[in-house]
């Protein structure tokens, strides 16, 4: 995933050229779609190799998610020789994350962090930033809703369907995760820029892009839930006279509901922070939060960038709390999500 990294490479990379940001510059800056496409293909190759490698290494290895009786795990005693270095490494990692958040938090409330440390609220109250956040929430909600529905249906087809090409459907539905956002963004830009499928310049292309990029999330949530539902439950429904639709509506959907919710929240969370694909698809006057952060950072408006970031982080944290709460309430374990 790191190889296709866009946002960090673009902002922190300085003059060192990176593949993903260069592709962006090629398209947005120089309007050279041909060269951009070429770079995308180059970008895809390592991703595809890794995707297949990953699939290859996972085949034949079954991961048991729920295995028989729960046994209370007892914390094991560790010798200090192992414990102390591990603790130090762990603490350093935690500290690195906390510092970056801390700096961002400070930057959103100071005029220019390190230069003029006067406390201001203008960044947090910045109108464009707030509008971008509002847009992001809107787009992500639409994406989450559509994504969760399609994800649940696809999961059902993948798990219960017995037809040729089922694995292919599964792979395609999960590929959005493996492909670099930059590539998908350019793909959407080129595909939907002209009739008959002209979608560019609207909210819908952003939402749909998020739906298909993060479809894997909803699909995986659905798949892991469906694996817990014994097929005999559906057979029992059929046995009692229900046809397929009735069984789906009365039995499968209610049981899959927690997976649907998990898929919804996951898609929402990933969509709202994603940048690499949507950066190609936003239109002037309809900014998304992630794009706003990127643009502000590029223009040196660190305060606005930080403030927008803080708001996004806040939204994501709220979501995680919500998901945690639902997990405990419905018994749907989010940690069962496997794969990428």
């Amino acid at each position: 995933m790191t190889i296709a990294e866009f946002g960090n490479a673009a902002i922190l990379g300085g003059r060192t050229p990176f593949l993903a940001p260069d592709t962006y510059t090629m398209i947005i800056g120089e309007a050279d779609f041909e060269m951009g496409s070429v770079l995308s293909v180059v970008l895809i190759i390592p991703c595809i190799i890794i995707f297949f490698l990953h699939n290859y290494m996972l085949t034949g290895k079954k991961f048991t998610t729920i295995g028989g009786k729960p046994v209370a795990s007892e914390p094991r005693k560790m010798t200090p020789v192992v414990k102390i270095p591990f603790l130090i490494i762990g603490l350093i990692s935690v500290l690195a994350i906390l510092i970056s958040f801390g700096v961002v938090l400070l930057a959103s409330f100071t005029k220019i962090l390190g230069v003029n440390n006067a406390i201001v609220f203008s960044h947090i109250l910045n109108f464009e930033s707030n509008r971008a956040i509002y847009n992001s929430i809107q787009v992500s909600l639409i994406a989450a809703f559509i994504g969760a529905i399609i994800g649940a249906l696809l999961a059902y087809v993948i798990v219960r369907g017995k037809f040729f090409g089922r694995t292919f459907i599964e792979m395609i539905s999960l590929s959005g995760f493996a492909l670099p956002g930059t590539v998908i963004g350019i793909g959407y830009l080129l595909a939907f820029n002209a009739p008959p499928l002209k979608l560019t310049g609207g909210m819908m292309i952003l939402a749909l892009n998020c739906v298909f990029r993060f479809l894997a999330v909803g699909v995986e949530a659905g798949i892991s839930k469906l694996h817990q539902i014994n097929i005999e439950i559906e057979e029992a429904s059929a046995d009692l006279g229900a046809n397929f639709l009735t069984t789906f509506y009365k039995i499968v959907l209610p049981i899959m509901f927690p997976a649907f919710i998990a898929g919804f929240i996951y898609t929402f969370m990933t969509a709202i922070v994603s940048l690499s694909a949507v950066v190609f698809l936003v239109s002037p006057g309809f900014d998304l939060a992630a794009v706003k952060i990127f643009d502000a950072a590029v223009y040196g408006e660190i305060g606005v960038a930080s403030a927008t970031t803080i708001k996004l982080v806040f939204i994501v944290i709220l979501n995680m709390i919500l998901l945690n709460f639902l997990t405990r309430k419905t018994g749907f374990d989010i940690s069962q999500k496997k794969g990428v």
């Binding site: 014994n230 005999e232 439950i233 057979e235 029992a236 429904s237 059929a238 046995d239 009692l240 006279g241 229900a242 046809n243 009735t246 039995i251 209610p254 049981i255």
Partner: protein, 371 residues
């Protein structure tokens, strides 16, 4: 036993089924009468569950016919068949209450709400779950869940009730109790029932007739007593309880006295032949452990008495199990009520008497896969 012997409710005709070239059912033909409880029993992989699923419509068959009450149903989906199944793990709907589970089929059939409520109450009374209608499924014990599954399957008064190892998830005592209850309920409702189990004792105790399956073929069909006393091959003899096999050759046949003498590794054994046998024929003697009696003193009646030495004795309370060496052959003997008959020690020399009504397997019935 309470079944109407004239009318076949379910006819299976030459049913074949394969999974990837592996033939799991090799031409099953069987009539099940109205009101009868028939058990499919056999070791795992014998095809019993596949056969049940074919009857229920969950597994398509390759060839053959399933005829229910005169109507061919093998191409109908489960929801259009008048059979109801109780799955091994009950397959209750986890997001519904007990009453909603039991009333599910009635609701699908568009019964009026009031009628559903009445019928559900009646069914819950039938399976002794009165007052638990409002409970969620996960708040029930295993035995209660079993009853809910049963009530749900009975709700639409099916022509045939299919029970797939219904008791295998219950502990031993509950199992015994539910076994009796299922039988009582079945006899009361006179409902034609197919009961799948791998437990031969369960099959023996509950069935009107037992169908012994093995490797996708029917080995024997008959009432429990016939299966136990007159198994038609070695596999069945060994499957429905422990058995001593002795190789024998017919030495003398006395038609007047209706007796035959067989030479066996433990000596000459006299028996009352069930069928025509000829001198020189090779047979296998099937002797159940509980039919042999043991004593310290020589019994007065002198037929089929042998001397042996106790190799291992196991006291199990209700009976004592002995392994006795007789002329180099190991014979297993069960003595019921050991307090009366005496408890014997290892190395003790004893007299065994074997009754004359011994079941014999003829040469063609002796197969090579003794379990």
């Amino acid at each position: 036993m309470g079944s109407d012997h004239s009318v076949p409710m379910l006819i299976l005709n030459d049913i074949h089924k394969s999974y990837d070239r592996n033939e799991v059912l090799k031409g099953i033909t069987l009539d099940i009468r109205k009101g009868e409880l028939v058990t499919f029993v056999g070791p795992s992989g014998c095809g019993k569950t596949t056969l049940l699923r074919i009857i229920g419509g969950f597994t398509p068959l390759d060839s053959g016919q399933v005829i229910l009450d005169g109507e061919r149903i093998d191409s109908l989906p489960p929801n259009l068949r008048d059979t109801r199944i109780c799955f091994q793990n009950y397959a209750l709907f986890p997001h519904m209450t007990v009453a909603e589970n039991v009333g599910y089929g009635l609701k699908i059939k568009k019964w009026k709400r009031q009628r559903i409520a009445e019928r559900v109450d009646e069914l819950l009374r039938l399976v002794k779950l009165e007052g638990l209608g409002g409970r969620m499924i996960d708040k029930l014990s295993g035995g209660q869940q079993q009853r809910v599954a049963l009530a749900r399957a009975l709700s639409l008064e099916p022509k045939v009730l299919l029970l797939d190892e219904p008791l295998s998830n219950l502990d031993a005592n509950l199992r015994l109790m539910m076994r009796g209850e299922i039988r009582k309920l079945q006899e009361r409702l006179k409902i034609t029932t197919i009961f799948v189990t791998h437990d031969q004792f369960e099959a023996m105790s509950i069935s009107d007739r037992i169908v012994v399956l093995r490797d996708g073929e029917i080995q024997q069909i008959g009432p429990p007593i016939e299966i136990y006393e007159h198994p038609t091959n070695e596999f069945i003899a060994g499957f429905v309880g422990y058995v001593n096999f002795l190789d024998g050759v017919v030495e003398v046949v006395d038609i007047g006295l209706d007796r035959a003498t067989l030479s066996t590794p433990i000596g000459r054994v006299q028996c009352i032949p069930e069928r025509d046998i000829n001198v020189g024929e090779k047979v296998k003697l099937v002797i159940r452990p509980e039919t042999i009696s043991l004593s310290r003193s020589e019994p007065a009646q002198g037929v089929n008495v042998f001397q042996g030495e106790v190799e291992i004795g196991m006291y199990v309370g209700s009976l004592a199990k002995y392994t006795v060496q007789v002329m180099g052959e190991r014979v297993i003997i069960d003595q019921s009520n050991p307090r009366e008959t005496g408890i014997f020690k290892t190395k003790e020399k004893l007299y065994l008497s074997i009754p004359e009504n011994i079941h014999l397997l003829m040469r063609q019935e002796i197969n090579h896969f003794t379990p």
